[in-house]
């Protein structure tokens, strides 16, 4: 495959500083600025939602009004004016499309710049793509093949209309509307996202993939994803994110809920490359995301893998609630910050089930003047007989103006539970750098090689297609961090 043979140098050459800094000029249809009950009603009406959905949103909105933004993270968040943003923005021609041919060519060109030519992916990569352009799902491929297997993969707005029982049963069951400030906001104004349902005994025949992209200026993106894996089913879901370069900050507050039944497995991978702002910290996405999965059934498994290179500020803790007996939770994370970026990210492993096991591997890389914090909770409930956790948090510093922090919380209410925690902090050693330079490898490429080596344990958890992209991203994101 061509992509795999591309070298970091080539990519850097081809892409420059921020690969995705372009704006697509498509007339968009947006709600007036600001946030109030009318906007919530507007969104619901635009989406032709049933009454129960509107009620659910309004309940969330009222709840949100009573809440305050969390301030416990090691983040310096400038005040956000929620009234100075658009909450609904859809590409103009968003009527239902039967095939890709009907999609606005300019939109398709955008996807191509993003490196996801849908047509090609259809044939080559065997990946079904549900692309979210700003707020509305534009094209969904592979529907047919999936539906033959009984798999439902569609925009969540469609699911609300077509599968109301499933949505009503599960939406908010993992992350209740009032879970936290940003989740409540999302519940009130979410505009789109994906819905996945894997029936009993089905191994999803392909990897499912969604590309999110914020295009419209001043629009928050509030997507919402719900994945349900019935007994003995399996699904691997890939999420990629990019946003164009802008001077203003943009808010992204997504919610992702996963439900795994008995013997089911969900693998959720993210490569997040939202615009991080410039060298001086101007612009960039605020990525305040709530992701949680519940292992309801015995022996069920949920695995989160994330590569976070973008965003000005990241506030994100993909978590697992391990209810089932012998259920398994995994969190593999690479968080890279450069320039003025701030990241506070980690996971929560809540052990309730007997014999439940969790693994946390976190690799934090800080460069420039950035701050990178791992924050994680391992909670062993009294019922978690013989539960186990292994946590490894490694931090790598590039330069001497950045910071790395590790904040592990451990609560153990069951004496038979075992918790292991290992943490290291290191710098790129001069020895290693010189060794690479002496072989003729340029300094930035050398740093990229060494950092990618540092992340290897996490990268190998990513599906092949994603791993290649993630590797390149790490090289690009480190640009300007040395020398």
């Amino acid at each position: 495959m061509a992509a795999t043979t591309e070298t970091i140098a080539q990519v850097e050459q081809a892409t420059g500083k921020y690969k995705y800094g372009f704006v697509t000029d498509i007339e968009s249809d947006k709600a007036p600025k600001g946030l109030n009950e009318d906007i919530v009603r507007f969104i619901s009406a635009k989406k032709e939602e049933p009454e129960w959905m509107l009620e659910w949103r309004l309940k969330a909105f009222r709840r949100w009004l009573t809440m305050t933004a969390p301030d416990w993270a090691k983040l310096d968040i400038p005040p956000i004016d929620y009234q100075d943003s658009y909450y609904y923005s859809a590409p103009k021609q968003a009527e239902k499309l039967k095939s890709l041919d009907e999609v606005d060519p300019e939109l398709l060109a955008t996807y191509e710049k993003l490196g996801i030519p849908l047509n090609e992916q259809k044939m080559l990569a065997n990946v079904a793509v549900d692309a979210v352009f700003d707020s509305v799902s534009v094209a969904t491929t592979f529907r047919e093949e999936l539906s033959k297997a009984g798999v439902i993969f569609c925009p969540i707005s469609e699911a609300i209309r077509d599968y109301p029982e499933l949505v009503q049963r599960y939406m908010g069951s993992v992350i209740p509307v009032g879970d936290n400030y940003f989740a409540a906001l999302n519940s009130a104004v979410f505009t789109d996202g994906s819905f996945v349902y894997i029936p009993k005994g089905v191994r999803c025949p392909m990897e499912l993939s969604t590309y999110f992209r914020i295009n419209e200026q001043n629009t928050g993106q509030f997507e919402r994803t719900l994945i349900i894996a019935e007994d003995e089913s399996y699904v691997s879901y890939l999420e990629g994110c990019t946003a164009p370069q802008r001077d203003e900050n943009q808010l992204h507050a997504a919610v992702v809920e996963l439900v795994a039944m008995t013997d089911a497995e969900i693998k959720y991978s993210t490569v997040q490359n939202w615009y991080p702002g410039d060298e001086n910290g101007k612009g960039g996405i605020y990525n305040f995301v709530t992701k949680r999965g519940v292992c309801r059934g015995d022996r069920s498994k949920i695995s989160w893998t994330q590569v976070e290179t973008g965003s000005a500020i990241t506030w994100k803790y993909p978590s697992c609630v391990l209810r089932g007996k012998d259920s398994v939770g995994e969190f593999y994370s690479v968080a890279l910050t450069n320039n003025m970026q701030q990241a506070d990210t980690g996971t929560k492993m809540i052990h309730i089930g007997e014999g439940s096991r969790s693994t946390i591997i976190s690799k934090g890389i800080s460069a420039g003047k950035s701050q990178n914090c791992y924050r994680g909770l391992v909670h062993m409930h009294p019922t978690a007989e013989n539960a186990r956790n292994f946590t490894q948090c490694d931090s790598l510093l590039v330069g001497d103006k950045c910071g790395a922090h590790t904040v592990p919380y451990i609560v153990s209410r069951n004496p038979s539970a075992k918790i292991e925690h290992e943490a290291t902090t290191s710098r790129i050693s001069e020895d290693q750098l010189f060794y690479c330079l002496q072989r003729g490898i340029g300094e930035e490429d050398a740093v990229s090689l060494i950092v990618n080596g540092f992340c290897k344990e996490v990268m190998k958890e990513l599906p092949m297609e994603f791993a290649v992209e993630a590797q390149k991203l790490i090289g690009i994101s480190l640009e300007g961090s040395v020398g």
């Binding site: 043979t5 010189f434 072989r439 490898i441 090689l449 080596g453 290897k456």
Partner: protein
């Protein structure tokens, strides 16, 4: 005969400490020179100075490769210009796959020369061939660079890199140390295969026996940051017999 490497009255310090105190040495194309000298005499320092390592400061003199001064060049530029150093202590790069590392190195050079980058498949074939000659197993090639390699394996891996990069000036810093007899023979054969009219080598060693395998054109004794004596390969035998005691420190 043209000079490939010319070291002229080279002075260098590490930190504030002067280590090299006026080295003069000329190596012509096609030649192999050996450097011997007591521990701490500045042999590795000299190799680092040639390669341009950070922290090794040239305080006087010049280094010319193919007639051009290296002093203003970064280490990676020197490497791409043909300078290669086989490290006395090769460095481990955890998680960095050997194949991608080797390919990055080879491609950096090719890009500089305006050549096509080599693709993965073609490259793997070339590496396998060269590795076989050096007794390097496929398993070793699959591992991270130098991680978990034995001392001798690391040295062989250095020579493999030299074979792939085809440098014009190769400095081998104690490549023989830590090698068993068989490995010494294999590595020496590998090095001899790379002897070439267009290439020069500087072999740093403590042992005369290496020079039975890699026969040098000249031998130099470095002590106290200066070259104290130069001669033919018989000088190595002399050292072997009577040590460095006879070398005049004050020369």
């Amino acid at each position: 005969m043209t000079a490939l490497l010319e070291i002229r009255d080279l002075h260098a310090s590490v930190g504030d400490k002067p280590i090299l105190k006026g080295i003069n040495l000329t190596i012509n194309t096609g030649e192999v020179h050996a450097i011997m000298g007591p521990n701490g005499s500045g042999k590795s320092t000299m190799s680092y100075v040639l390669a341009g390592r950070d922290g090794y400061k040239v305080t006087g003199g010049d280094i010319l490769m193919k007639g051009e001064s290296l002093l203003e060049m970064e280490p990676d530029e020197r490497a791409r210009a043909g300078m290669f150093l086989a490290f006395q202590y090769p460095v481990e790069l955890p998680g960095v796959g050997g194949m991608s590392f080797l390919r990055a190195a080879v491609n950096a050079r090719r890009v500089e020369a305006g050549e096509e980058e080599i693709d993965q498949l073609g490259f793997v074939k070339i590496v396998r061939e060269k590795a076989k000659l050096l007794g390097i197993s496929d398993d070793m090639l699959k591992r991270a660079v130098n991680v978990g390699f034995s001392g001798g394996e690391k040295k062989r891996y250095e020579i493999l890199q030299m074979a792939l990069l085809e440098p014009s000036m190769a400095v081998l810093d104690e490549t023989d140390s830590g090698l068993d007899v068989d490995a010494l023979r294999i590595v020496s054969e590998g090095v001899n295969l790379l002897r070439d009219p267009g290439r020069a080598m500087l072999v740093i060693t403590h042992y005369q026996r290496l020079l039975n395998h890699i026969v040098p054109d000249q031998v130099h004794i470095l002590a106290g940051g200066k070259i104290r004596k130069s001669g033919g390969k018989e000088l190595a035998l002399e050292v072997e017999e009577s040590g460095y005691a006879g070398i005049d420190d004050a020369a």
